[in-house]
């Protein structure tokens, strides 16, 4: 009986994920090529190791019956809130934000892992109260489940990641069936709060929004990355400048191009052909994830899938959007492509849970 479930394993989900991870390692290689005089930057090895680690976590979580996770959802959530609090106290400051916890030579970014745990907790909570979704208290508590880590992340400060939790909440509560009036209400509150938010924003955040509206206002300062990213992507043309041959990337006109701006390297070196391929892989991954949601016969699994798909889709859209000048620059990495160990392992593990949902869809029910 236990081996029978592997017959339902979704190979396309695994394939698209593995291709994206391998592609990501290749792009990190290009983005860091001869950055400090060596051909293969240490970051490339690290990203590859994280990829292998992610695959192991993927396999383990695929095999694990995801219902077990429901039992630990709150414990994991509590742990994630704790570590987000901890990072504010002992975290390592890098690029002006306190995001990393140093642990035995490894860095670990709690806000990435927290995405999965928020999805777990939200799904568990909404599945449990699926018949009471019209109650303001239920909707309110679900919102707090996402808002609490978002608030802690905002203190780091990491505005971009904080918005990911909101994206997850929106997608999960929407699919769970929360009445539309709550979303409209939230929209109204957001519009009313916008002026207040503007006034309480940090200077750099306000500047980023202003710069987004007009990057040319400060071409060498805040607008620099946005403009150079646009030039990089555009200059790739239809077929790209060739792997390791993008002048924008290889001559470092792009900054921190192995992280948030890695898409610009893809765009420049591989061109429209390359980004189309990458988008197709993402589309395949997301559609297989949504299929998992559809085949799941119970709310918890379905919401888990939606949450994971939402997180990946949101980051994809926001990251590419900022690289192509459609959205303001917020520090959100491109899932599985940008350099970042915690993020990579978390997403691969999350996709492992999706496989588990697919494989265990018939076995349990409430």
């Amino acid at each position: 009986v236990e081996t029978r479930i592997w017959r339902y394993f979704d190979p396309l989900l695994l394939l698209s994920m593995v291709l994206l991870v391998v592609f990501g390692v290749a792009m990190v290689y290009s983005a860091t090529y001869q950055r400090s005089g060596v051909t293969v930057d240490p970051l490339v090895y690290r990203q590859a190791i994280y990829g292998v680690l992610g695959l192991l976590v993927f396999a383990a979580l695929s095999g694990l019956d995801y219902h077990v996770l429901a039992n630990f959802a709150w414990l994991l959530y509590a742990g994630c809130i704790g570590s987000l609090g901890l990072v504010l106290v002992v975290g390592r400051v890098l690029h002006g934000a306190q995001r990393w916890i140093q642990f035995a030579g490894w860095q670990f970014q709690p806000s990435e892992l927290a995405k999965l745990f928020v999805i777990l907790a939200l799904s568990q909570f909404l599945a449990k109260y699926r018949d009471d979704l019209k109650r303001p208290a239920v909707v309110g508590i679900s919102f707090l489940i996402a808002a609490l880590p978002a608030g802690l992340v905002l203190l780091q400060p990491d505005f971009g990641t904080a918005t990911v939790y909101l994206g997850i909440w929106l997608a999960v509560t929407y699919v769970a069936g929360v009445p539309y009036r709550y979303f409209l209400g939230l929209l109204a509150v957001a519009l009313a709060a916008a002026p207040v938010a503007w006034l309480t924003m940090q200077g750099y955040q306000r500047q980023r929004i202003l710069t987004f509206l007009n990057p040319q206002s400060d071409p060498l300062g805040d607008g620099y990355n946005a403009i150079q990213a646009l030039i990089s992507v555009g200059s790739g043309g239809a077929l790209g400048r060739g792997f390791l041959s993008g002048s924008q990337s290889q001559l470092h006109f792009l900054r921190v191009q192995y992280a948030d701006f890695i898409f610009s390297v893809v765009g420049e070196e591989l061109g429209f052909l390359g980004v189309t391929g990458m988008l197709l892989l993402f589309a395949l991954l997301l559609l297989r994830g949504l299929r998992a949601a559809r085949v799941s016969r119970e709310t918890f699994g379905r919401l888990l899938c939606c949450g994971v798909v939402a997180a990946i889709a949101y980051q994809l859209v926001v990251n590419v959007g900022m690289n192509v000048g459609l959205l303001p620059v917020t520090g959100i990495p491109l899932p599985m492509i940008s350099f970042g160990g915690t993020s990579l392992v978390t997403f691969m593990g999350s996709l492992g849970i999706l496989e588990s949902v697919i494989m265990h869809h018939r076995k349990f029910g409430f």
Binding site: L220, I231, S235, L251
Partner: protein, 641 residues
């Protein structure tokens, strides 16, 4: 491949007992799927627009980022004296500056400037100010420090990773070896002004850029287009911090042409020394020495002056304010840029005019009682008495010149006051003054030159709206009144008399050479005109000047006691005439301040040097001739040595 649609979904087939019949979530799952697809398609459309439709535009923007053309300035031509002694050269000096576009971001600029401030030892506030003041493009080089020591320059280069955007440039700095002595005619270079740049930016040969230097005054300005040369350029690929990744091609600069001047640096130095010794007593002093055989300028000194090296490395505001507010006008080259009444020097012109118009015949004598009375034009019974220094008695042309006898030349120029004989008249005097080159620029290679004034009836009407009166003619005959001349013009007069009547265009530049010393062009002597004065007439004028500058007796028996004899040099006969011109307001003892003039030539028979000396507000009539004596003495000794 596994089909996605639920119709063929294998899981549905295996679905024996559905655990959940509630399908209420399905519409929302559909919409969220549609939304994800929509978002991905939107990104894809945007990428199509950027990469396929606008790709070429962005491609050229990316190329603008990485390709940079760096101009290689051409070494400015070196200026030598006639003996190939260096007068102006280029000394390499390190400049440190910033290219804002190469800095990673403005927030780190503070840290970079702080580090740089420690290396350079310049307060960071000063660096900030320099960066803030410059409104040029972010890709241009903003000077932060010039003349930086080599060790400091190397240190900055070594630490370039910590100092993004900071660049070290090897800039040639102009060095004027003689400094103040030659500043009056060499001039100086300075940073090009906005107005100059706007005028010159389209010059395809000289390729000016807003950071360039340009000749501002003197020969540096006149010969700018030869001295500058043709800048080259290096096309290179650079990285984001502006460091060169590889060179794509170099166009070598063509160095500027060197100038070989006719100036004799030794004479120039000597004259500067002589004038400096007495400059405290004068408002200003100028000397021009010309070779009468070809018009080449051997020396040109004007004091007070300035050190042109101050300008070469960027003059400070304080220094510049001090120079332009100095009452002695040190920035004006008075040797060509100031005109004074020549006084008795003009006797030589009146003499030539008298001889050529037939007013004066050779050997004719005129009575010089020490004064002349000019009748009032309305009431001839009332006269104005013009006094001479003394009564010279009977004078001929030669002795009158030697004695600087004004009364003689009053009569030649304006006639006998009682109408017994006619003089040359204002028109004739003006004609001969112009023939000798007065009233027009000599055409020397300095745009600072002024014309001076040769008055005429028409001139007075136009400029003063007054009638010409006979007194004006008397004044003009002895070089007073409205007549003014520059030292270079008067030196040229002396030169033309000495060489037998050829008025040359004075030239400062003799040759131009390339960077290997090969002659590119030779400046041949240029004749402005040949004087319409007979050789015999000129010989008499020369003789008068020679007698004037000698000790002894005149041919008609009186002892020379003119001021010109102070110029005499033992064993080396010279000719000369001096004058003392009163001007301004009398002092407490009723005496007017005076300008002292001298023109002359030597050696008397075959002159190789013609001189003009003027001391503005000199203390005595012998000043100018005394200065000429020292110059002649040095020149004679140096020529012998």
């Amino acid at each position: 491949m596994e089909p996605i649609t639920s119709l063929h979904d294998p899981f549905d087939a295996l679905d024996e007992e559905p655990v959940e019949e509630d399908k209420s979530h399905q519409p929302r799952l559909f919409w969220i799927t549609a939304f994800v697809i929509l978002c991905v398609v939107a990104l894809w459309v945007r990428l199509y627009q950027l990469q396929v439709l606008q790709g070429p535009d962005f491609r050229s923007q990316a190329d603008n980022n990485r390709f940079r053309e760096v101009k290689i300035p051409a070494p400015r031509g070196v200026i030598y004296d006639r003996n190939h002694e260096v007068l102006a050269r280029n000394r390499p000096s390190y400049s440190v500056g910033i290219i804002p576009a190469d800095m990673p971001d403005p927030s780190s600029r503070v840290a970079v400037l702080l580090r740089l401030s420690q290396i350079l030892g310049i307060p960071v506030a000063q660096l900030n100010q320099a960066v803030a003041q410059d409104g040029a493009s972010p890709f241009s080089f903003i000077w932060l420090a010039m003349n930086v020591p080599e060790t400091v320059a190397f240190q900055i280069e070594e630490r370039h990773r910590e100092l993004p955007g900071i660049h070290v440039q090897l800039d040639p700095t102009r060095e004027y070896v003689l400094g103040p002595s030659a500043a009056a005619f060499l001039g100086y270079i300075g940073r090009i002004s906005d107005a100059q740049y706007q005028r010159l930016k389209d010059d395809a040969v000289h390729k000016y850029s807003p950071e360039d230097v340009i000749g501002e005054t003197g020969l540096e300005r006149t010969f700018e287009s030869l001295l500058r040369g043709e800048p080259g350029a290096e096309q290179m690929e650079v990285d984001a911090t502006g460091r060169q990744v590889r060179s794509l091609g170099v166009t070598s600069p063509t160095p500027g042409q060197n100038l070989i001047l006719s100036i004799d640096a030794g004479l120039q130095r000597q004259i500067t020394e002589v004038l400096s010794a007495g400059i405290n007593r004068y408002r200003s002093a100028s000397v021009v020495a010309i070779d009468p055989r070809n018009g080449q300028v051997l020396a040109m000194v004007h004091l007070p002056t300035y050190d042109d090296n101050l300008f070469a490395s960027g003059i400070s505001d304080a220094d510049y304010q001090r120079l332009i507010s100095d009452p002695g006008h040190p920035l004006v080259n008075g040797a060509v840029g100031a005109a004074y009444p020549p006084g008795a020097l003009f006797h030589v012109v009146t003499a030539a005019a008298g001889l050529e118009t037939g007013v004066l015949t050779t050997g004719a004598k005129l009575d010089c009682p020490g004064f002349i009375t000019v009748p009032n034009r309305f009431d001839p019974t009332v006269g104005t008495r013009l006094l001479d220094v003394k009564a010279f008695g009977q004078q001929d042309l030669v002795s009158a010149l030697a004695d600087s006898c004004n009364v003689f030349f009053y009569q030649v120029g304006a006639g006998d006051p009682n109408g017994r004989t006619a003089g040359v008249g204002v028109d004739g005097l003006a004609h001969f003054a112009q023939m000798f080159g007065l009233g027009e620029p000599t055409g020397i290679d300095l745009i600072e030159e002024v014309s001076g004034t040769v008055p005429s009836i028409r001139w007075k009407r136009q400029n003063l709206n007054q009638d010409w009166v006979s007194m004006d003619t008397y004044q003009m005959a002895v070089g007073l009144g409205y007549l003014t001349a520059t030292p270079i013009q008067m030196a040229n007069v002396a030169s033309a008399i000495a060489n037998g009547g050829t008025l040359y265009r004075p030239q400062l530049v003799h040759q131009t050479t390339d960077d290997r010393g090969g002659v590119i062009s030779e400046f041949k002597p240029e004749t402005i005109r040949t004087l319409s004065v007979s050789p015999a007439g000129l010989a008499q004028i020369r003789q008068g000047m020679i007698d004037g500058a000698s000790a002894g007796n005149t041919p008609i028996g009186t002892a020379f006691d003119g001021a010109s004899k102070a110029a005499a040099v033992d064993g080396w006969p010279v000719g000369g005439v001096s004058s003392t011109v009163e001007f301004g307001v009398p002092d407490a003892s009723g005496r007017l301040p005076t300008h002292g003039w001298f023109i002359g030539f030597g050696p008397a028979d075959q002159a190789t040097i013609a001189l003009a000396v003027v001391v503005e507000q000199g203390t005595g009539p012998g000043d100018a001739a005394g200065i000429a004596h020292q110059i002649f003495a040095y020149y004679h000794t140096a020529a012998k040595g």
